[in-house]
Amino acid sequence: MPETAIRELTFAQAVREALAEEMRRDPRVCIFGEDVAEAGTPFKVLSGLVEEFGSERVLDTPISEAGFTGMGVGAAMTGLRPVVDIMFGDFLTLTMDQLVNQAAKVHYMSGGTWKVPMVLRTTLGATRRSAAQHSQSLHAWLCHVPGLKVAMPSTPYDAKGLLKTAIRDDNPVIFFEDKMMYKQKGAVPAEDYTIPFGVADVKREGEDITLVATSSMVEVALGAAKLLEGAGISAEVVDPRTMWPLDEKTLVESAKKTSRAIVIDEGYGRYGVTGEIASVIAEGAFFNLEAPVKRMGAMHVPIPFSPPLEDLTVPTEQTVFDAARALCGQA
């Protein structure tokens, strides 16, 4: 590959490029899901792939999330490397048995003899006016399950690199993409690169407070960090990138350095990701924290359709800014 040029790609293009490159590299990689072929998914993330790889490798399925996820598990065990597409993360509800009782457990239950090199790509995120059954961010469920890995890219760069790692991983990986981010642009190298799992990325360095943010919330945290700069507060933004494996060390070190932390995740705030990460930090940085770790997640309500209500349900630059100022004693 001659070009090491860094182009600007959208998040969707980065995902597609990762898939296309991996499919060229490895003929066992294939895709299945609803409207993935000619339609290229409703989000158009997969446009062009069926044209290049054919309908044997980019397979349209019926609306059978449980069935084709299960088919993915069996295909992965026997020699393919399927990338299963679940259009909305809300439909994970239908795949839980295949993911949790099958995919996650096959390797262990078989005493390490069978493997499930499968990726399941799906979406998360609210504020799309899609109402309660199309707006959830349910990744915490999968993070809770041993045997699964969970990746949550927040930039086009991370999307490409993490997806390649996911496809090459011999374990079931659940890959969450924020559907509001598909059109967002970012620098993405044209060449092949991977990003190791379990390595957090410090998206912005700072001294006074750590903002741990995942997926869609990284942009929000970066926006808040800018506002905070104006208020004289230097915020560090840390993106774990994979929730499992989790880079506890980087999170804890950052909090130790800054002595304050907020964890921001678009999943529900209760019994989810923020509880885990806040606990990790509260334990690891116990003697350095000047204030309790603050958690910000989706409000504990089904996501409402009505725009003025929906906008209240997830953290925003402003609410993160306010919380950070309060935590730093400025409120």
Partner: protein
């Protein structure tokens, strides 16, 4: 309704009244949906909506065979079912705009309209998601001997969801008064049903002991006739049935699905619109049978147009729910 399908009796005033009512209800759905599209293109509606245009005869033919107290469950493409079951357009538009006056106080939106007053258990944005609910409603009806019937509307895409077969088996074992109505409009989102549906749709009911019928979903009289038959069966305790209604959506999967040629031809769309339009054909039949003259039909249309205009205006002017509502009604 036999009266209407029986030419000898077309002068029957009951037949005329029912025929006009079926016609008006279809026109109401059609014009409602045209307004929805308008709201979308004028960027007044948040999110998307899935239009029922072309499929009106199914919802109307069936719901006119139901009592107000009978139950329906609906889908992401649900406006037609809700209207046919008795919802009023003003509160529906208000819901589509996320306003407090909407059926769900703006919290549900286009895909979640529900209304206990008309037996509407709710539209559902999970494909096949209401199959269990409809079956449970039928269980209640049977257990409490209320004589109610439950109708579960679903697109043929829901045939891909295993839960449908689980509940058909349950309904068959318990002989529940539920009618599963498959609206086969030939496409899921962007894929022809033949690419996603092996075997035979009606057999998928028969295999579970569910009585099956199929009907031309563009012919409101035929739909109504078969609906009466199946509702009768259900009320008499003869168990569940599956009705395959063959139909077509004229427009995109949702309001934003404009360029459709990669999955279906304009010609195909045109054929359905010109030859098999349920409203046009019913109008012609009414006229042919001398049950209504052209002007009566035009009058219906202009009345409905007015109704929709007023309703939209109401919805646009209506306020959003107050922010304090955001965490109300999470728990009863």
């Amino acid at each position: 309704m036999k009266t209407i399908t029986d030419p000898a009796k077309t002068d029957n005033p009951v037949a005329a009244e029912l025929g006009l009512r079926l016609y008006r209800q279809m026109v109401r759905i059609r014009l409602f949906e045209e307004q929805v599209n308008e709201l979308y293109t004028r960027a007044l509606m948040p999110g998307l909506a899935h239009l029922y245009i072309g499929e009106e005869a199914v919802a109307v033919g069936i719901c006119e065979a139901l009592k107000n107290t009978d139950y329906v469950t609906s889908t992401h493409r649900g406006h037609g079912h809700c209207l046919a079951k008795g919802a009023t357009p003003d509160r529906m538009f208000a819901e589509l705009l996320g306003k407090e006056a909407g059926y769900c106080r703006g919290k549900g939106g286009s895909m979640h309209i529900a209304d206990p007053a008309t037996g509407n258990l709710g539209a559902n944005a999970i494909v096949g998601g209401s199959a269990g609910i409809a079956t449970g409603a039928a269980l209640t009806a049977k257990r409490l001997k209320t004589d109610q019937v439950a109708v579960c509307f679903f697109g043929e895409g829901a045939l891909g969801q295993g839960v449908l077969y689980e509940v058909m088996n349950l309904a068959s074992l318990y002989k529940l008064p539920v009618i599963y109505v498959c609206e086969n409009n030939l496409y899921t989102e962007y894929t022809h049903f033949s690419e996603t549906t092996a075997g035979d749709i009606l057999l998928r009911g028969t295999a579970f002991g569910v009585h099956g019928e199929s009907v031309d979903g563009q012919d409101v009289r035929a739909v109504h006739a078969v609906a009466q038959k199946l509702v009768g069966r259900a009320r008499r305790g003869e168990g569940p049935s599956l009705l395959l209604s063959n139909t077509y959506r004229y427009t995109g999967h949702h309001v934003g699905d404009i360029n459709r040629e990669y999955y279906r031809s304009k010609q195909e769309e045109q054929e359905w619109k010109t030859k098999r339009d349920p409203i046009k054909n019913m109008g012609e039949w009414l006229a042919g049978q001398k049950l209504a003259d052209r002007s009566a039909l035009e009058k219906i249309e202009s009345e409905v147009r007015e109704e929709m205009k007023t309703a939209v205006e109401f919805a646009i002017a209506a306020p959003y729910p107050g922010v304090e509502e955001v965490d109300q009604d999470v728990y009863a």
